[in-house]
Each structure stands twice: as C-alpha cells, then as structure tokens.
Amino acid sequence: MTRRTMIEAIRDAIDVSMDRDEKVVVFGEDVGFFGGVFRCTEGLQKKYGTHRCFDTPISETGIVGVAIGMGAYGLRPVAEIQFADYVYPGYDQIVSEAARLRHRSAGDFTAPLVIRMPCGGGIFGGQTHSQSPEALFTHVAGLKTVIPSNPYDAKGLLISAIEDDDPIIFLEPKRLYNGPFNGHHDQPVVPWSKHDLGETPDGHYTVPIGKAAVRREGSALTVLAYGTMVHVALTAAEETGIDAEVIDLRTLVPLDVETIVASVSKTGRCVVVHEATRTSGFGAELAAQVQERCFYHLEAPVLRVTGWDTPYPHAQEWNYFPGPDRVGRALKQAMEG
C-alpha cells in the first residue's frame, strides 16, 4: 500500500496497465515529453518509449478518431483530452463512431478505448476550464461514463476501464487531484496523504465499473453524488447534523440502480447533487429513476442541487459552485418536505 494523490494513482494505473499489456498506448496533447499538464503521464514516455506514450498535435477530432481505429485493430488506446472543455471537437467521433461501432458491426468490432479528461470547477478556470459535461456522454447509448472521487477508486476504475472492451469516458474531477475538496474554498486543502482513500494498493487491482459505494451510512435521507460533490455532500451532512446516507455513484452509466433503490427505500428521501448545469443534467435522470422505482417509499419530493444554468463564471465562482451551504439547505428542505 502507498499513499497516493489522485494524480499519482492515475499515473500508476496507466503504468500498471502498460506494463501488463503492450497493446496499451497512451497519448494526448503534452502527454509524452511533458508528462501531461497535470502530470498524470509523467515518466511514462521515458519508461515505455515514444511509440507507446506520445504527444499529439492539438487535434481533438483526430485524437479520438485515431484511437477508435487503433482499438478496432486490437490496441488499447488511452487518450487524454487536456480538459473536458476541449472534448467537443472530438464529440462527433465519440458519438457517431465509438459509441456505435459494436452495434453496427454486429459485434465484429468494438472500440476499447478510454478517453480521460479532467473536469469540474473550483480552480478559477472560468468557462473554458471548469465544465462538467458528463450528461453529454450519459445521454449517448454505447458509452460508459466513469467519475472517481478519490485515489483508490481512480486507480482501480481506470485499470478496469483500460481492460474493458467498450468506449469509456473517464472524468477526473481536477479539483480532487491533490486532495478531497469539500467546497469550503476558504479553508486549507487537506492532502490525500491525510485521507484513508489516498491509501492505494501497489500493482494491479480493479474497482468494478457499474458499482456505487456508500460513503456514509445514514437513515434520514439519501444523497446521490459523484466526483467532487461526494466530499461536499459529506461535509453538508456533518454540518447540518442530518443523518444522511451519502452514495458515491462512481459510474454514471452503467448506473448501480440496486444500491440507489436499497438506500432510498430505506430513507424515503433523496437529494441529488452535481456541479453541472441543472437542465437536462444527470440529476434529472437520477430523480426520474428514484421516482419510478421508489415512489411509494418517498416522503418528500426528490430535490436537486446543481450548478446554475449559466456559463461557468470567471468572477463569481463561489456563487456558482454548489458548496456545502447550498447542499445543506437542500438536505434540510428534504427533511421538512
């Protein structure tokens, strides 16, 4: 076991995978020589050579497209999109090609690629470095969408993703890279070395895709969260003293419906939390699932706490970011409602 930051855990997952399987190739903008802007691929080019870990031009359409071709002929590409905000030129390839290759070739070909991308806010990145575009992927049949909230999961999920035969969107909340951010931006950052989930096994292990984790058991209400908002929700539960059960979804598609239903059936109340904008966000899907499956257990409307339906701001980040106060208010409202 080693204490790792989320960056180190991701790098280790790629390292372990490259070491076990020479079909794994890793590339993206500034990924090879420079080691990635967040250092997630540092040292890998030295270790495995420029034919396995390399830089690409700034060409997101091409990055995704060539990854699909590589995968169709048996390689296991791990492509990095430098920030999730830059994926849109590659979106056509993701939606029209990667997501559908298995179906339209009647299983002859698959697209076994992982597209890693840092997402989310909290770093003063403004509108082009802070987005949470998960719903753009969860809405597309044929993709799996994964979003870890800590180093242990990041490593285990990334190894699972690389070994998976289908296309995986791997979202990395960049505000969590160095520590569990709970939304209190004015307090010092706790490093992962001081957090249990910074403890990661060495070598190979997997965390299954499609399984949620209960981060805090509780009986009063259920909070459904993922990524950075898991830590914000845990803090809101502590600060309000409400006995919330906090579920870290870890994978959005395929969704662990069983864990959600078991929890909401027990608590009878549910609050859904995400950083992304509200309208047509993944929270809408979660609320619908809960309503369909747990309606007769519900004692209050399912509430959503989300980013506002505006571009991610430059000057007003903390008025936008759904921090522990906003989440806490929703928890109280769900208890009253």
């Binding site: 030129p89 509108q127 430059h314 000057a315 007003q316």
Partner: protein, 349 residues
Amino acid sequence: MATAARKAPAKSKAKSDTKLSSALSAPAPLDFDKSQELDAYRGMLLIRRFEEKAGQLYGMGFIGGFCHLYIGQEAVVTGLEMSLKDGDQMITAYRDHGHMLAMDMSPRGVMAELTGRRGGYSKGKGGSMHMFSKEKNFYGGHGIVGAQVSLGTGLAFANRYRENDNVCLTFFGDGAANQGQVYESFNMAALWKLPVIYVIENNRYAMGTAVSRASAETDFSHRGLSFKIPGIQVDGMDVRAVKAAGDMAVEWCRSGQGPMILEMQTYRYRGHSMSDPAKYRSKDEVQKMRSEHDPIEQVKARLIEKNWASEDELKAIDKEVRDIVADAADFAQTDPEPDASELWTDIVH
C-alpha cells in the same frame, strides 16, 4: 488606428492562380520614418509594461485562473495594426491582451477584466481569455484553440456580404494550426474569396510541445497551399517586416483576391500561462532571443542611432506608459467586484 477614407466596395475580381503561393516572397522590411518608429516603440512598450504588471498582479493573487502573457511577441500585433484602417477587424485566441491594447481598447478595461471587476470589458464574466469590444472591432478573446479561425472567416464573409472593403485579421498559434477546423476555414475562405488574413503566430511552442514534435509541415506559410492560399514567412520580431507584410496582405484582401497567410516567426519569453514549469526549453534559448532579437530593443537602437530620440526622451515615453499601466492596475484593484446578480444577466433564456 490608422484612419483612411472608405473606398468603394471591392468586387471579387481575382482568378485562381496556382503558382501564386510559391511565387510570393516576403517583402523587405519597410523603412520607417521617425513618427512610425516612435509609434511602434510606444505601442510595443505599452504591451510589454502592461503584461509585466499583469504578471505581478497574478503573483499577488489579484488575478485568478488562467493568464497568458504576450511578452516577446509585441511586434506582431503592433506592426499589423499599423496596416489597418477603420472598420477592419481582429479576432484571436486567449493570448489576447496585446491585441486589445493595439486596437486601442482601454488598459483599465482590460486589466479590470483580468481581476474580474465591474469595469472589465466583460464585466468580470470573461476573464483574461474572453474580452470583446464592438466599438473597437475586436471580436475576442477565445479560449478554445482554433475556434476563432472559423469565426474570423465568418467575419470576413460578412465584410464581403456588406460590400465594404474591410479585412479581418484572424490570429492563431502554431499549435492551433493543427486543428481540423482551420482547414475547413481555409477551404471556404479560398472558395469564396474572403478578405481574411490568417496570421499564424509561430512562437515555436504550443504549451510544452515544440513545433517539430507536433507538426509534419513546420513551414506554416505553406499550410494553405492545397487551397491555393498564398503565404509568406515573416520576421515577427521586426516590426518593420511585420508592417511590410501587413501592407501586402491587406492590399491583397481589399482588392478581392481572397485570403492570405502570414506566418509570423516570433517567440514568447514567458511561460505558456502563469503556471508553466518551463521544463521544455533551456534558459539559454530564451536569453538568446531576448538579447539578440527583442522587438522593442531593435526599435530603440534605431531611434538612438538615427538621433530621432535621446535616452531622455525614450525614458519619458517609458514613464508615460508606466503611468498608464499603473493607473490601469489601480483601477483593476479598486473597482468593485460585480454583484452576484450579474451571474444571471446576459444569459440566453
């Protein structure tokens, strides 16, 4: 901005000339007269001092997020602006402070946007990478690499549609030159003979990636060849060479011959953004460019050599520029932050 009377709208009269691209060569640097040298000196110095101050404010925590400085590249936008006339447009990427100052936007408004204040050009909504001015024909300020290239092409289309003879200067980097939409734009611009000048600011790096590690064709002036877009390589550290190329390209576009590519060979002294560890190039390389090719020092040396300005006069210009920048910095620190309600204004409903 150079003011010139509006000419009658140009009609497209060019026929395609396949040999053109290879036949064109960069014009010799212009001989500047005294007032041109002084204008260039002052313009470049304003950008340099402004950027130095922005770097300081960033270090002090007044500027959050991303901030890309233009230091080293001043001659490119300064020289090109000297070729423009009223109504010509500019659009660029996120390394945009210099372009705005060259387009005569207010240093206060730019600096206050960096600090996210009310008086910023985008009222604190855009930040360093996203500022605009309809009044000054500056169309941004764009954070997504390559996106502005298509927009600039559309601006040029609008010029043609409105039957004016304005041109749109569309700036992008050596890294951006590898985005697919750049070539979609090139094809449209050539097909429709649009008055757009594609200015590729080749500063040798895209973040930490050197040109040779990302580009199969490193002569960016050739990037339009298969679309029959002529291109030239220009010494982007020499403001006179830039102006000469600008004059040629502007004339080409105004007369309805379609787009042109100017590869400006330049260099950025600072990191890609403020958080650049700078491990991808040597200090010597940077130092050599600074000491041997600095665009401001070149003008200064000529001014002194020709006795067009004394050291004291140049110091006076420096003082004047520093005062402007200090005033902008004061404003940017004291102007109030936007009200929280501003989150909900300028929203599409």
